[in-house]
Amino acid sequence: MVMEDAEAPHHMLLLRNFMAQGLVHNQPLLYASPARDPRGFLGTLPSPAASKDNKSYETDPDQSKNLQEKGLRIAWQYKKYFGENQLNFDGQKGSLSLDGKHEYSNEFDLRKPLDRHFLNRQHVDCVSIQDSPDLSVLRDRCSTFSSQFPRNDGSVSCAGRIAIQSFCAPQCAYSNMEWDMLSFIRSLKSMVRSSNSVAIITFPPSLLSPSFCKRWQHMADTLLSVKAIPDEDKDLAQLLTGYQEMVGFLNVHKVARINTQVPVILEATTFSIKLQKRRYLVLECLNQAPVDGSSGTSYGTSGSCSGSSKAGNLDF
């Protein structure tokens, strides 16, 4: 689940990535949103970024110095259920590179829309939740969708993705039915658990009462939040390296740990959301801008190689 910031649409970037990744992997998709015509959003899904030599879809290793949705890669652990021989991609359309490596997490070019043939397939379904008086329609659609991917013993042949955007948006007729919405989330969890599917729900926590906000957070297997960044903030610009490219922050609050007691300890839980060259979504650990070396204090955390303005004894 992703907690939205009412002041910025960064959750849409995550949704686009999630949905586009599924379509590129030939995975059926169910998308629900409060818009009148949710299908319109599909036109904004990005296309996998073309590599430099145009021969494969592998990401440029030079770009892997950033974390590249590390938090999400941890969450989408479905990859371990795929056997080497299960995937059957068309080398031109899918994400499988010519040398047989599987690309579970593509880099997407936000300025290039996804090819139409991905969207014209039968297994892309959209639901508008704006006018529904209650959640029965959405529940039925999710149930029908997830029943296509029953969980059997053995390897997974196909997985499904459910994306629900702005679940408690105020224009939805059911938006004041807090217990019903909570009950729906519980149902969805059980559907997803008993099938080979994953679901992402985004919601604006400021529109829920505090107790229900807590309950919803508790229901999530993986919990993220996105936050807007203030524009032209001189203090932040001094504090953070690369502030100019940042559009917001992403926090990882909880990571799914199912059927295990071993906790996940992440190197970092706060990432900056950047749009590299205004086309590639990049998540990076926050780098503190270097402190003046002459004072003797240490430089910021990993990765920053910028020099300080004054040379001091401890400079290297």
């Binding site: 704006q130 105020p170 007729a173 004041n176 960044i229 559009v247």
Partner: protein, 348 residues
């Protein structure tokens, strides 16, 4: 800051984008919301009538004041609504919001007052404010009546969301605002909210639905629990004359811009100083060499001096063969485009 707001409403929406929406919110501690609403209304109206805005018409949805009040207000600002009825229409949700007068008239128990139901080319009476769907249809119908079909857009002003919430649920009001924002022909929309009349969730919802939130706050906060204190009375009185104007813009690049202004009106001295500022590249046109304003002092002060430093001289009519920069200001109120951002086309 008000200019920034008005400019964004004037510029409207890009293709495929939701219309910019402004929430003006105030409270009893700083009750200037209606002044801001009136200012934005008159500015947008003048842009529309001058053909300088994306929208070609304005629908004013009147809940808390009569349509004639707004027509008078615009007239006092120099906007002739009567002759421009093809650009501005009001939807009267004030005179008979629940249709009671109509029903009483039908039963013969009530004589409708002539001035309230006077035939006006600019006013349409709406009598079913409990049904947001019907209100939505009426607003859109009025707007289309102003601008026609196709791709020409109109703007919508709602003078009181509080009144709407008296009669309809939050979700239906949200639905109406959201549908208006996503309508292909709506260029911009703005509304007024008295935040202390509602629970915090209502304000949160309306802020969620907006792309700009302009809040009015008191300059001085009186101490809690000491309401009877004379010092607090003078603070409250002071807060009734001045306030803090706090605006949050949700930008297309996904960032939030915050602006705060500590006085809602320019003082006389500030007005004079502002009028004396000569913008760079303003064409003087008197055949004499032009000094480009270096930002430090006005031309009037430096007329008889030869300032050293950054100023340059530019020849005018003698050098008509060379290129020159001629700058036309859109209006005297408009500030230089200091908030133009190259990232504005970055649409997340």
């Amino acid at each position: 800051m008000a200019e920034s707001i008005c400019r964004l409403l004037r510029d409207g929406a890009l293709e495929g984008e939701h219309a910019p929406a402004l929430t003006i919110k105030d409270s009893i501690a700083s009750p200037f919301g209606f002044h801001v609403f009136a200012h934005v209304l008159s500015q947008l109206s003048s842009f529309i009538l001058a053909g300088k805005s994306q929208s070609r018409g304005l629908v004013v949805v009147c809940f808390s004041r009569s349509p004639s009040f707004y027509l008078e207000l615009l007239k006092n600002k120099g906007i002739d609504v009567v002759s421009s009825d093809k650009r501005i229409q009001t939807l009267d949700c004030y005179s008979d919001p629940l249709g009671w007068k109509s029903r009483l008239t039908e039963t013969g128990n009530f004589m409708a007052c002539s001035h309230e139901t006077s035939i006006s080319r600019t006013t349409n009476v709406f009598k079913d404010v409990k049904h947001m769907d019907k209100l939505y249809n009426s607003i859109v119908e009025l707007g289309k009546g102003l601008v026609g079909g196709g791709k020409i857009r109109f703007s919508v002003a709602i003078d009181s969301v509080d009144e709407m919430l008296r009669h309809a649920s939050m979700s239906s009001v949200s639905g109406l605002l959201s549908k208006l924002r996503s309508h292909d022909q709506v260029s911009s929309i703005f509304w007024l909210l008295h935040s202390d009349l509602h629970e915090a969730k209502v304000t949160a919802v309306l802020e969620y639905l907006s792309s700009m939130v302009a809040g009015l706050e008191p300059l001085h906060q009186p101490a809690n629990g000491q309401r009877g204190d004379m010092e607090n009375f003078s603070l409250i009185e002071h807060n009734l004359k001045k306030g803090k104007f706090h605006v949050r813009f949700k930008r297309r690049n996904g960032r939030v811009r915050v602006m705060v202004q500590f006085s809602l009106q320019l003082s006389e001295k500030e007005r004079i100083d502002k009028a004396n500022v000569v913008l760079p590249f303003e064409h003087q046109g008197n055949g004499k060499p032009i000094q480009i304003y270096d930002g430090r002092r006005s031309l009037a002060d430096s007329k008889h001096e030869r300032p050293v430093g950054a100023t340059e001289t530019v020849q005018t009519s003698e050098d008509s063969g060379r290129g020159e920069i001629i700058y036309y200001r859109d209006s005297d109120d408009e500030m230089p485009d200091s908030d133009e951002d190259p990232d504005d086309d970055l649409d997340i």
